[in-house]
């Protein structure tokens, strides 16, 4: 029992060290984009919302999957605050309910913009949010913008 307690304490402690601050560092403009091969003209706010709470869309958009960008950290906070009026903590609680009831999964996370761009070009079904200037630099058309 003591060993189990130590393991739990170690898990929590190490988790604390690995978790970044909750605070946004800076505001910014965020857009949702897909790869060049994607022929979609746009996405509605409702569709983006559904994608980012783990739901699938209907019709010709049913193959779309959302990615989440880890860097820069403010992008996620701005995105979820503007899309859903949620903080990262609230999103974590939402996903916890979905994950442990088997009703959904949070979007897969990509580590940086370059990795996101590479994924988008390799799979036309993926969409990701990113800073507007990064999308413009990669000549990606915004499907949804805040």
């Amino acid at each position: 029992m003591r060993t189990l307690a130590r393991l739990l304490l170690a898990a929590v402690s190490a988790g604390l060290l690995a978790i970044p601050s909750l605070r946004a560092e800076e505001p910014g403009s965020v857009v949702v984009v897909a790869g060049h091969a994607n022929t979609l003209a746009m996405l509605s706010r409702e569709e983006v919302t559904r994608l980012y709470i783990g739901e699938r869309l209907e019709g010709d958009k049913n193959q779309l999957k959302a990615l989440e960008l880890d860097v820069p950290p403010w992008a996620r906070e701005v995105f979820y605050a503007r899309l859903l009026g949620r903080t990262p903590v609230q999103m974590r609680a939402l996903w916890a309910r979905l994950v442990f009831s088997g009703k959904g999964r949070p979007p897969r996370i990509v580590a940086n913009v370059d990795a996101a761009l590479k994924e988008l070009e390799g799979n036309a079904s993926l969409v990701v949010f990113m800073p507007a200037d990064k999308a413009a630099a990669a000549q990606l058309k915004p499907l949804f913008a805040f």
């Binding site: 393991l7 739990l8 170690a10 898990a11 929590v12 402690s13 190490a14 988790g15 604390l16 060290l17 690995a18 978790i19 970044p20 909750l22 706010r45 409702e46 919302t49 559904r50 783990g54 739901e55 699938r56 869309l57 209907e58 049913n62 999957k65 959302a66 989440e68 880890d70 996620r76 605050a81 899309l83 859903l84 009026g85 949620r86 903080t87 990262p88 903590v89 609230q90 974590r92 609680a93 939402l94 996903w95 916890a96 309910r97 994950v99 442990f100 009831s101 088997g102 009703k103 999964r105 949070p106 979007p107 897969r108 996370i109 990509v110 580590a111």
Partner: protein, 414 residues
């Protein structure tokens, strides 16, 4: 933390090394190297998630100890105890493809009655029939109330524990074996989730064994801020209780005219009705639910109505909240038709033991110390109704109207 995919529980499949990678991943999770929820489906991936609840609670009395779930063993006296609020869960999910996955979830907890502290509470094959329809076949938890299927994932709730006036109505039920279907319908900015479920279960309480087959439906309408939910479940319950056997035998002997009304071995039309409301913005959280149990045809079993209202306000990483909850047990009065003194007193005592009527006023504070870890304090003032035992081992001491339950907890997910 939201790290890269490799850090967060998704590993690519290869026939040779999947199991070894899964073991390494599990070890990394135990060591806290990955502190994020495993992410969306990747074909051929194993995903690992878990939660840890560490809590202590104490109440005002040792003779009338507080029981969060009256039919469970664990109770809370004046010495702080971790028994009620300490659990850990681990979920393993294998994603074969976009349309097929397998999920297992084990729960480590103080068992509600005799048995192992480790329980397989979820084990199902998930089949995505269409983008909007998913079916689960196997072991799962029926979604009676807003948080029933995630009631042990305390991180995802504002409280130290969900209000017992509603959530203790599920008694010792931890899972059902059967089938579950969920259909999502987009309605403009709203979504309608229709859930249909059927399953069987068996569980033990302090004095009885219950089993049954049940079916139900739930409709949940939600948008970014609002959630409205209604649920109905019904079925047939088989009850084995040596104590009730003796009561029924006594009635058959001393009050044969009414004994049939107290037969309990098999009851049809047993189940729950519930309605729930959730409103959440970046600053405010409002939760309200009302639920009702139907014990079936037997006069020997009481029914209950429970409800709660919780309001929280966020200030950055802090969220104070207040709550009010009430439970009313019905049909707990003595049966005037029974004229035999011994039979009347015996039945009255059995029914009085099922009178859980009470109300609870709660104040609490949640502090999101970091993204995946919340610390919580909660004070519940629990006041049984006049003459009722409420959620206590025995009625409160003479002259006492309430018991204060003080709780402290840390809730962590990965």
């Amino acid at each position: 933390m939201n790290g890269s995919g490799d850090q967060c529980g998704s590993v690519r499949h290869s026939p040779v090394s999947t199991w070894r990678r899964a073991r390494r991943l599990a070890a990394a999770l135990i060591l806290g190297q990955a502190a994020a929820l495993a992410q969306a489906d990747e074909g051929g991936a194993i995903q690992v998630n878990g939660f840890i609840n560490a809590g202590l609670a104490r109440s005002s009395f040792d003779d009338a100890r507080y029981k969060y779930i009256p039919t469970a063993d664990a109770d809370i006296g004046t010495a702080a105890t971790p028994r009620v609020d300490t659990q850990a869960g681990l979920q393993l999910r294998y994603v074969h493809s976009d349309s097929l996955n397998a999920t297992a979830q084990v729960l480590l907890r103080d068992p509600p009655s005799d048995g192992s502290p480790l329980k397989l509470t979820w084990a199902y094959a998930g089949i995505q029939l269409t983008p909007q329809i998913e079916v689960k076949l196997g072991r799962y938890m029926m979604p009676f109330f807003l948080f029933t299927d995630t009631r042990n994932v305390r991180y995802a709730q504002p409280w130290v524990r969900p209000p017992g006036e509603v959530y203790a109505l599920v008694t010792n039920t931890e899972f059902f074996d059967g089938a579950y279907l969920r259909h999502l319908t987009p309605l403009g900015p709203w979504s309608l989730a229709t859930e249909a479920f059927v399953g069987a279960n068996r569980y033990e309480t302090l004095r009885a064994s219950l089993s049954g087959t049940y079916y139900g439906m739930a409709f949940t309408l939600y948008d970014s801020n609002w959630t409205f939910r209604v649920m109905a479940q019904n079925g047939t319950t088989q009850l084995e209780s040596p104590a009730f056997d003796r009561v029924l035998a006594l009635l058959q002997q001393r009050a044969p005219d009414v004994a049939a009304d107290y037969a309990f071995a098999e009851s049809s039309n047993t189940g729950y009705l519930s309605a729930g409301l959730r409103y959440e913005t970046e600053d405010w959280l409002l939760l309200a639910e009302v639920a009702e149990t139907r014990p079936g045809d037997s006069r020997l079993l009481a029914s209950d109505t429970g409800a709660y209202l919780t309001v929280g306000r966020r200030f950055g990483d802090w969220m104070p909240f207040v709550g009010y909850a009430a439970r009313r047990s019905h049909n707990t009065e003595a049966d005037a038709r029974i004229t035999d003194p011994l039979a009347s007193a015996t039945v009255a005592n059995v029914l009085a033991q099922q009178n859980y009527s009470q109300r609870t006023v709660s104040v609490g504070l949640r502090w999101d110390l970091v993204l995946n870890l919340a610390l919580k304090l909660q004070l519940d003032r629990v006041q049984p109704s006049n003459g009722a035992k409420g959620s206590f081992t025995v009625p409160l001491p003479a002259g006492q109207t309430h018991s204060d339950v003080f709780s402290l907890a840390a809730h962590y997910i990965f």
